[in-house]
């Protein structure tokens, strides 16, 4: 069995709104294109370096192309995601990528196209965001690729619903077909995690109450009434 470290990593953030769904994805650029089976030559390059000047006119076409081999269903209905933006940031400068705001920040085309720095695709991490004019906090979400993976893949999904979120890690072996089927994150998930703490608090409160009761009793009664054997 391969270790987790030897597999590629892909992260997905799902942001569920009242009437829409947003999806953000991040992975090393090479893994991103390999996973979605898209030729990375769609990224503007010059002398084998990413040409950020072309990013200034918008990068959603790259994002749209990335998902051409994927099928997304929300509430069992096939939907067409619209790419908002695609961005490449240096892998050496890791960006936080766990929340919808992280996703939005990461896909923002930034100063790169006016920077003197040049990068090869292999030095970069890809970030892409999609907007789907469909869905709700209670929708089911089902993303599937049509072609099998060529390498092992660790997938982490951050799913944000109504006032709660979940984090799921899935592992796919080479040759498998990536498929993510999610129910909406439920408030009960959070409640379930609160229950042990609430019970512990109740028990602690009961114990404290008992202790105080004994202390009060000690003030008015002989020590033996609380079972202590004092001289």
């Amino acid at each position: 069995m391969l270790s987790a470290a030897s597999a590629d990593d892909l992260s997905i953030i799902i942001n569920r709104g009242d009437t829409f769904t947003e999806v953000y994805m991040s992975s090393s650029a090479e893994v991103l294109f390999a996973t979605f089976d898209v030729d990375p030559s769609i990224v503007p390059m010059r002398d084998n370096l990413v040409d950020y000047t072309d990013f200034a006119s918008g990068t959603w076409a790259i994002g749209d192309t990335l998902l051409t081999g994927a099928k997304l269903r929300i509430d069992q209905q096939v939907v067409q995601p619209e790419a908002m933006s695609f961005m490449l940031h240096p892998s050496a400068e890791t960006l936080s990528f766990e929340t919808p705001l992280d996703g939005l920040i990461s896909i923002g085309v930034c100063n790169a196209f006016t920077s003197d720095q040049s990068y090869q695709l292999s030095d970069l991490t890809g970030y892409v965001g999609y907007y789907i004019d469909h869905g709700s906090m209670d929708s089911t979400f089902d993303l599937a690729l049509t072609q099998p993976l060529t390498r092992d893949l660790n997938l982490t999904v951050f799913d944000y619903g109504a006032a709660t979120h979940t984090r799921t890690t899935l592992r796919f072996s080479s040759g498998a077909t990536l498929s993510v089927a999610l129910d909406p994150p439920q408030q009960t998930t959070r409640l379930r995690s609160i229950v042990p703490y609430a019970l512990a608090l109740l028990i602690a409160a009961k114990l404290l109450h008992g202790l105080f009761a004994r202390t009060r009793a000690q003030k008015h009664c002989p020590a033996r009434t609380i079972g202590l054997s004092l001289p």
């Binding site: 990013f55 918008g58 790419a83 705001l101 923002g108 965001g129 907007y131």
Partner: protein, 168 residues
């Protein structure tokens, strides 16, 4: 840090430019209305890539300065979202740009690289016929987040009373 401040002035319509001398002196002499182009909203952290303010009302003949407060943004008119006879504009990234609006109407505009993430906004130029292109502008298909943001913008403009017929 100094910023590049090459300013470009666009006349929203050449036809209306001929009418400019007829405009009230107050309108001609007014300072430009400033719209900042920001990567992060100054008070609402969840809002990224914004024009501030995002709904602006000006008199015909007045100028708006789109200020490149943060880098990587520009201001450009959206196809189908400006009145008939008005000229499109397309500011350069990282540069301030001044646009003079002479034709009454609604003007939807965007930051080119960030439009689909919702960096869009509206200018309403007061004057007769200012709502003539409202339906057409509202019917323009928006990509990504821009659709939801424009829904908010139309609502905001209506609440500001900007989508009522001009009294002028």
């Amino acid at each position: 840090m100094s910023k590049s401040h090459s300013r470009r002035t666009f006349l929203a319509t050449s036809a209306a430019a001929t009418l400019l001398p007829a405009l009230p002196l107050t309108a001609q002499a007014q300072e430009p209305v400033v719209v900042e182009m920001l990567t992060k909203h100054p008070t609402e952290a969840r809002l990224r890539n914004v024009f501030l303010p995002r709904v602006v009302s000006v008199e015909a003949g007045q100028t708006v300065l789109f200020k490149a407060t943060d880098r990587s943004h520009n201001s450009a008119s959206i196809d189908g979202m400006i009145p008939e006879g008005a000229e499109e504009w397309d500011g350069r990234i990282n540069e301030d740009v001044e646009v003079t609006f002479d034709v009454p109407g609604v003007y939807g505009y965007k930051c080119t690289p960030h439009a689909a993430t919702g960096m869009v906004a509206l200018i309403v130029v007061e004057g007769e016929g200012k709502l003539d292109n409202l339906e057409a502008a509202q019917g323009v298909r928006q990509r990504g987040r821009a659709k939801a943001v424009f829904e908010e913008i139309w609502e905001e403009a209506a609440e500001m009373g900007l989508l009522e017929p001009s009294s002028a």
